[in-house]
Symmetry: C3
Subunit: 269 residues, 3 copies
């Protein structure tokens, strides 16, 4: 049913295109992730721009190469800016990626996500409990960490992808990418990754950067996950804990090359 494919020549090509093209990635994200997400984007060669307010977010989305929208620390004026950016991105055909942080935790977040999905995200990236909450419109999950089991989440991801005509990325010990028909599982990374805050948010930013240079959001999402998996493995090998791991991860993202990327195992089915 699944056929291991290595190396991921497509992922290497997409990573190279990001570095060559330096796509402008507008990321409307939460306060916790601002620093690490911008540094992760810089490390892979993209150009981050954290332009969030409705007075300019729509205007900026029209010149951006991709947009990421992350609801981690929402408030009404930020949501207005997010909706304006999503609307503009959808209108001009710019890919945009939704990160529904802790969507199951409060009514407010469920309402925000309901507004945003009307503007048709190109990709939705979350952890298992967030994807489950979106797919089932139910409460659940305590915050940014997932408590859901994997198999139910996988079915929910594929169903959600079909419902929204989007690609869904579920990150965890393994990262799953699905468009409702095709599925890929990306292996790698390191056990310290969940102990570093906002790496999920940074993954969303990387998906946006890859969507900026490739028309297939399914392959772009796989490439983004492969970049993190490869860099994470190498960072783990030279770190002493989550603090030094985070630093090394940014280094390794900047040092990624085809050989390192091709060491990532990707199972497709």
């Amino acid at each position: 049913m699944s056929s291991p494919v290595t190396p991921s020549s497509t992922s290497a090509a997409i990573a190279a295109a990001v570095r060559a093209g330096s796509p402008l990635v507008q990321y409307l994200t939460n306060f916790v992730s601002m620093d690490i997400a911008a540094n992760v984007l810089n490390a892979v060669g993209a150009s981050p721009a954290m332009v969030h307010d409705a007075h300019e977010s729509g205007e900026f989305a029209r010149i951006a190469s991709a947009v990421g929208i992350n609801i981690g620390t929402p408030s009404p004026s930020w949501v207005d800016g997010m909706v304006a950016a999503a609307e503009a991105a959808h209108e001009v055909g710019t890919p945009w990626v939704l990160d529904p942080v802790a969507v199951g935790a409060t009514t407010y977040r469920r309402d925000i996500v309901a507004r945003l999905v009307q503007h048709r995200p190109t990709v939705v990236r979350g952890n298992a409990s967030e994807i489950l909450a979106m797919a089932t419109s139910q409460a659940g999950g305590r915050g940014v960490d997932s408590v859901a089991v994997s198999s139910a989440a996988l079915d929910a991801a594929a169903e959600l992808a079909r419902q929204l005509s989007t690609v869904v990325v579920v990150t965890g010990v393994e990262d799953v990418v699905t468009d409702g028909t095709r599925t890929a599982v990306v292996h790698g990374g390191h056990a310290w990754m969940p102990m570093v805050t906002a790496l999920g948010c940074s993954a969303t930013a990387l998906v946006a950067a890859c969507c900026a240079v490739d028309d297939d959001p399914f392959e772009a999402s796989i490439a983004a996950m492969a970049m993190l998996a490869a860099a994470g493995e190498r960072a783990g090998a030279r770190s002493e804990g989550p603090g030094s791991f985070r630093v090394a991860l940014v280094d390794e993202l900047a040092l990624l090359d085809d050989v390192r990327l091709s060491s990532v195992r990707v199972d497709r089915s």
Copy 2:
């Protein structure tokens, strides 16, 4: 008058309970501290959630295991969110910790703190000048760094603890914890700690995490200070300046064990 007590078996037990229980800590904090406070919480095994807006902060406080409220970069809508969270926490009996950053510096901050203390913080954590300003309701201090001398601050801390029926933590070269009757002085840490921004804010987050797993906020506060003191000493031994110290501190918080925690000297009186 004081009896040195080592090892702090209670602190080790509390730290272990945080790691085992992974308490959900809602932290409404300033923009400077978002990243380091979340990483510090993750490192000790807690689960951070920076949920701040009044549209959800009260709802979230009802499911959180502990709440921290830090006024470092306040604005009206954030204060509304803080009040809603404090009110909800107090109502359902969830412990909450107040960090009155630079309360003496502006009228606005004194007014904010006056509103928040009506909802009975479980612990107040500040530096000497902040605690003095709160206890005396007077202006003073220039910002996040303390200029006050220690002995006056200690008297003020005990008085404040009695006034508010709370535990007061005064951090500095030594950290003092008092409930107005009992007092403990926690030794350790490193000279680079004051050069790393938002470690005080991170200390507040750790106090909240410890209060989530222990009913005695006095012992919980001591445990939080002991964790920072132990990790800080070890981090200092392998750092070259405040940049690498900060990274190593997160590593060492993740690597804390009973032996390391029991090396912290705590004087009780």
Copy 3:
């Protein structure tokens, strides 16, 4: 036409004055730079205070030793706070530094900068495309990274300095400081600097810190650039990528001494 001057004894004296005086630097900055800018200020011995809201920003500017205003992630309430701080700083004669992040990218940013310059910044610090956009009031630039060539930017910088009676700092591979008459080029730094987010914002913060202790904003700006150049070179020599470079940069800023500062080449003309 230009006469190399080494060592920069003035820069060393200014850096020493920052460490000795620990000036209180109020920085109203964007969300991405909060952490690194505060840590950079701490590392050189200044005392950062991120006080932004109009309820206190003007009051605080009256007690600050210098003010920095950075429009990187603007919204209406923040702009109100920025204007209040700029107005108060100008009124009491406190030096203030403007960082017109991505001013060419949106109409909103051009309007904000137009409001702020009415309060006469002491120094304007930007990259080449930002300075060009300010000088010509034209759109251009995609965000925080410069796409403009250097010679046109230099003419624009001198013209802008004369127009506004300010000092203009253009950062890039080399950093240029001009007051419209005098010009200095500061050499040094490292190729990883542009890959670390918010180092430009941190440079602005350093300029403010140096202006707090020296009456000549031209020499203060040179000193700030020399500090970054010296620390950047040393950090680059012991880093493996942009992640570890950023950490080492904070270390090296804390370890700066006269010998290291005097190794920076400054061409004056």
